[in-house]
């Protein structure tokens, strides 16, 4: 008899765990998507929670997965670090640009090269220029570091430099952090990463003589940049708390936080 009671208690406990997960969903806003938007959404969510008490969850899955999550109704707001494709818009999704992110071209600090133009970057990445000495560097083979197919950063980089499907990568890594670590450890590597995530371990190149910064990205003079997009469903209204969050982050009040996160606010 004792055993039965203990088993019953156990069952009750297990059921309790599940119901606890299912309940109290009302006061949270679920966001899902681009790994590059971690910093900005994290900061905005924290501020929003402080002001209103509503929790904002963020699932770093990647732009494609975030868009898919909105489509399937698994989250309130999708996050994408690229513009929506026509197919996705046709599926009833809507985009709102939150901010602009500069994509920094990074090399190892030991590399003497400081400036490249977009065409040269494209030539390097398509394998037309193979040695650093051709562009004023050391006599060493250029090691191309990129992101995996489908990554928002890769998509952004390749569409800006017009090198889609033509890049001859030496390594395709699955996160911004990996790209930075690899470039920092190989003197002949070149890579690209979201400006917001770049650390001092790598050197950021100027493009056409323009250093990527908030100002140059906003006024468009730094050309390697892409939008951070909020994805919502066109004909389905957001939940009350999600709408509050949406209004909050697209308002001017949020700009300070967006700037602090290293990207340039759009509104």
């Amino acid at each position: 008899m004792k055993k039965i009671i203990s088993i019953l208690t156990l069952v009750l406990l297990i059921v309790g765990v599940f119901t606890a997960c299912g309940g109290n969903n009302k006061e949270t806003v679920a966001t899902d998507g681009s790994t590059s938007m971690n910093k900005v959404i994290g900061a905005l969510g924290e501020m929003f929670q402080e002001d209103t008490g509503i929790t904002v969850t963020y699932n770093a899955t990647g732009s494609g997965a975030g868009i898919q999550a909105v489509q399937e109704g698994r989250c309130d707001i999708g996050l994408a670090s690229r513009n929506l494709k026509d197919v996705e818009k046709a599926n009833g999704l809507e985009e709102t640009i939150l901010a602009y992110d500069g994509i920094a071209i990074i090399v190892n600090p030991a590399n003497p090269v400081n400036d490249l133009d977009v065409e040269t970057i494209a030539k390097i990445y398509t394998g037309e220029i193979k040695n650093w000495k051709e562009i004023g560097g050391n006599d060493a083979e250029i090691v191309l570091i990129g992101r995996e197919a489908g990554s928002g950063t890769r998509d952004g980089f390749e569409s800006i430099t017009d090198t889609e499907d033509k890049c001859a990568y030496r390594q395709e890594l699955t996160s911004t952090g990996d790209v930075i670590t690899t470039v920092a450890s190989n003197p002949n590597a070149i890579g690209y990463a979201s400006l917001a995530s770049v650390k001092d371990t790598v050197k950021v190149l100027t493009v056409d003589g323009v250093k990527p910064s908030e100002e140059t990205i906003k006024n468009g003079s730094y050309v390697v940049q892409r939008p951070f997009v909020l994805v919502t469903k066109k004909d389905v209204a957001l939940s009350e708390s999600a709408q509050k969050f949406f209004d909050y982050i697209t308002s001017e009040a949020a700009n300070e936080i967006i700037v602090a996160a290293g990207v340039v606010p759009a509104n």
Partner: protein, 290 residues
């Protein structure tokens, strides 16, 4: 009496359900993989899919050939076995037969610790230490390569090989060894001509287990192999079956041929692992029948 019977039956039922959960999971995964893996193979064509040499899933004219992944997985696993098995095997013989108790307990706990290290840590150390070292030693532009993956995998399968081999060697009856020694064979002769042959199916099982671990590893390999869909070569950046699925899954859109093709890769990997498991069962069963 009746109450007791009922209680027994209830417990029996609970255990049955718990057991069926495992079976259900296996069935679910198998059915799911087959159902979601077959459409892409049908669309691409089995021959083009398995023997196509080019993978460009997001290109305007996508190509879905997974031969580079299959060969990389096979070469990578073979390389890891080539390095890992001799080291693991001799370590096991030493620990089981030659080492004194203290040495054995120290080395064994080190092996257990090695087995407990998460694969992402192997990957990280490989990325920060091994990859630059390979670049320097072999004077190649970049160290992320098949070789780096092979070395990481070889270290990762060591604990499996050592532990299973030790168990097999420990189980050899002492009488065999005593008989051999009584006939005038030296210790080393006895270990390699009597103990090892007597434990050979256990050691074979250890190797197969190592193969299974190596072919299924994704995280560590993803961090050191470079992940470009090249045909395998020792100093080139390569992509394994596992990493092919893992690196593109997050970004592929559902229902697309790309996503389906990733499921097909998973299905191929699944079949590989099934084959390895069947081999393992074969060795273990043969061991039991003796």
């Amino acid at each position: 009496m009746n109450k007791k019977r009922l209680f027994e039956n209830i417990i029996h039922g609970i255990f049955l359900v718990l057991g069926l959960i495992t079976v259900g999971c296996v069935l679910l995964i198998t059915v799911y993989l087959i159902v979601s893996g077959l459409p892409a193979i049908k669309e691409i064509g089995l021959i083009d899919f398995l023997f196509g040499k080019e993978w460009a899933s997001t290109a305007e004219e996508p190509k879905y050939g997974i031969l580079p992944f299959i060969l990389t997985s096979v070469y990578g696993t073979a390389g890891a076995i080539l390095i890992g098995v001799p080291i693991g095997f001799f370590t096991a013989v030493y620990l089981s037969k030659i080492a004194n108790k203290r040495v054995r307990s120290i080395i064994e706990s080190a092996v257990n610790l090695l087995a407990g290290i998460p694969s992402v840590v192997y990957g990280l150390v490989g990325m920060l230490v091994l990859v630059p070292v390979i670049r320097e030693i072999f004077n190649v532009p970049d160290g992320a390569s098949l070789l780096a993956a092979i070395i990481v995998l070889a270290v990762m399968i060591l604990p499996n090989i050592i532990k299973v081999s030790i168990t097999a060697l420990d189980a050899v009856p002492k009488e065999y060894e005593d008989a051999s020694l009584a006939l005038g064979a030296t210790n080393i002769e006895t270990y390699f001509k009597v103990s090892v042959p007597a434990a050979k199916s256990g050691i074979a099982a250890a190797v197969v287990l190592g193969v299974g671990r190596a072919i299924g590893e994704a995280m560590a390999v993803m961090m050191v192999a470079g992940n470009v869909a090249n045909m395998p070569s020792l100093f080139q950046s390569v992509r394994f079956l596992t990493t092919a699925v893992a690196s593109e899954m997050a970004y592929s859109s559902p229902g697309s041929l790309q996503r389906n093709a990733l499921f097909s890769i998973a299905l191929v990997l699944f079949l590989f692992i099934m084959m390895i498991n069947a081999t393992l069962n074969f060795f273990l069963k043969r061991d039991k029948e003796k």
